[in-house]
Amino acid sequence: MMYSEKVLDHFSNPRNVGEIENADGVGEIGNAKCGDIMKMYLKIDDGIITDAKFKTFGCGAAVATSSMATELIKGKSIDDALKLTNDAVVEALDGLPAVKIHCSVLAEQAVRSALSDYYTRQGIDPLPIIGEIKMPEE
């Protein structure tokens, strides 16, 4: 199994691990049976993601993609965060082994899930804005 240096770096020194108290949006995706669960916490002020944290149960790639995804959306507007694709996460990590691509999809969907929760809390139906939260194709 070949992980890039960047994946190993984000695995061994993950950025933004933990929880946010009074988070404005919390999303969780995956299941323990498949071996991957990501939980993402967002702090949002005036449509800007001012903080992002995560907790992940999963393999090296699952931890690294969670870490990278939080890095990529911090300081960004909600609109920009919604444009985050799994490909962007993979590219930022200098690639992932083919069997681990689904981890990047989980990271993308974890962000969308947390934003969906944010809209729900605001009393706004998230479905027209975010669409369905998808589990990666296995």
Binding site: F11, C34, F57, G58, C59, G60, A62, E138
Partner: protein, 396 residues
């Protein structure tokens, strides 16, 4: 704490020993003859191949004429199972019995045969990792061609009741094959006394090189030819002999089977200390019976964490280990062995296998026991599964 390098994955592969390497080296540049050639260089190569065959035979209580060199344990398994299947199909016997937790070299071969008109019975195993010989007895039918049960499990190390199974097979006149890749060099094997008809073994698990194995086939059983061509391996497996590898296997197996009980006396207390040390962590369980297992093997499930992350963390600390997590198997399902002994998927994902030999010292054990709790704590602190467990919530 100073970082060390500790190799605790001998069930995956082993280093070629100096002794083996030294025996092999002349066969690359000086004694390089083709064992089929008529001149002295060739005859010497032939002699060395036969000497190695004697050593392999002696190590498992067989006759040299019953040993065939192969390229690996998987090849031996494939040849044994498909070979017997082909022979017995001609007699209308198209039923095979194996267990659910065999190595994939056996399971996938059986699945292949299922696609070609064979019926396979997969015997379940107990929660502590054993095949019940009674289940084999009950599964044997008029048309059973072969029973194949591993000697010791590669993941959880449990040693199977081979003699009892062999006895049942003999009574029922069914051929009994065992994949002994993990057992050779770690437990005493005598194919004659134990009544084993066929046995697969591998070189690289016992300090020979990768790419060499052997199959023992009891006299009286004739397998179809595996590779057609020259007259090598008594016409059964053509192809110029890999003389250096064969010589290396001979030396390796002689050395590995020389002092099995002495080695076990050194390794077992260290292994037990590892088990007890890791089990001090909450929400852990030992997989496989504690006593009837390979001396160097331990397999523990650590709940709330995932195996590949654990392996990467251990690697950062210089410890080489293995896991039954899906992520290390390249599929989504965790180890079929751990599922077979009744573990839930999420628990099987967080398993750790260590397989040690005498070179792992007491100090190394201390080091491993210092590293593992720290790594586990770190992974659990960032695990949403652990968080839910601690809150008493379901995470399924």
């Amino acid at each position: 704490m100073e970082k060390k390098f500790i190799y605790a994955d001998n069930a995956a592969t082993t280093a070629v020993s100096e002794e083996v390497l030294n025996a092999m080296l002349p066969h690359f540049t000086k004694a390089y003859g083709n064992a089929s050639s008529i001149y002295k260089l060739g005859r010497d190569a032939q002699k060395d191949v036969e000497k190695a065959r004697e050593k392999v035979a002696k190590a498992i209580g067989a006759e040299p004429g019953e040993i065939f060199f192969t390229s690996c344990g998987s090849e031996s398994d494939n040849w044994a199972i498909k070979g017997v299947a082909e022979n017995m199909a001609k007699k209308g016997k198209k039923h095979i019995i194996t267990s659910v937790f065999e190595h994939h070299a056996v399971l996938h071969t059986c699945q292949y045969l299922e696609k070609h008109g064979f019926e396979v019975t997969y015997i379940p195993v107990s929660s502590d990792g054993f095949v019940n010989p009674e289940d084999i007895k009950n599964a044997i039918r008029e048309d059973t061609a072969l029973v194949t049960i591993m000697y010791a499990n590669n993941e959880i190390g449990t040693i199977q009741p081979i003699e009892e199974i062999a006895k049942i097979c003999k009574e029922k006149k069914v051929i009994f094959h065992t994949d002994a890749v993990q057992a050779v060099g770690h437990v005493e094997i005598d194919v004659k006394k134990q009544g084993i008809d066929m046995l697969s073994l591998s070189g690289h698990k016992i300090h020979a090189q990768k790419g060499i194995g052997a199959l023992y086939v009891r006299k009286g059983i004739t397998l179809p030819n595996l590779i057609h061509g020259g007259a090598q391996e008594r016409n059964k497996r053509a192809g110029t002999e890999n003389v250096p590898a064969i010589v290396g296997l001979g030396v390796a197996i002689e050395s590995a089977t020389k002092n099995i009980s002495e080695k076990a006396e050194i390794i077992t207390p260290r292994r037990n200390r590892l088990i007890d040390g890791i089990l001090k962590l909450p929400y852990t369980r030992l997989n496989g019976n504690r006593n009837k297992r390979l001396p160097g093997n331990l397999n523990i499930s650590i709940e709330g964490i995932e195996g590949e992350s654990l392996l990467l963390m251990l690697d950062l600390n210089g410890i080489c280990a293995s896991s039954g997590s899906a992520c290390t198997s390249g599929s989504l399902d965790p180890s079929h062995v751990l599922l077979a002994i009744g573990l839930k998927h999420e628990v099987a994902h967080g398993s750790l296998r260590l397989s040690i030999e005498e070179d792992v010292t007491d100090e190394d054990v201390d080091y491993i026991l210092e590293v593992i709790p720290k790594v586990v704590e770190r992974l659990r602190s960032m695990s949403p599964v652990w968080e839910k467990m601690m809150k008493g919530e379901s995470y399924e």
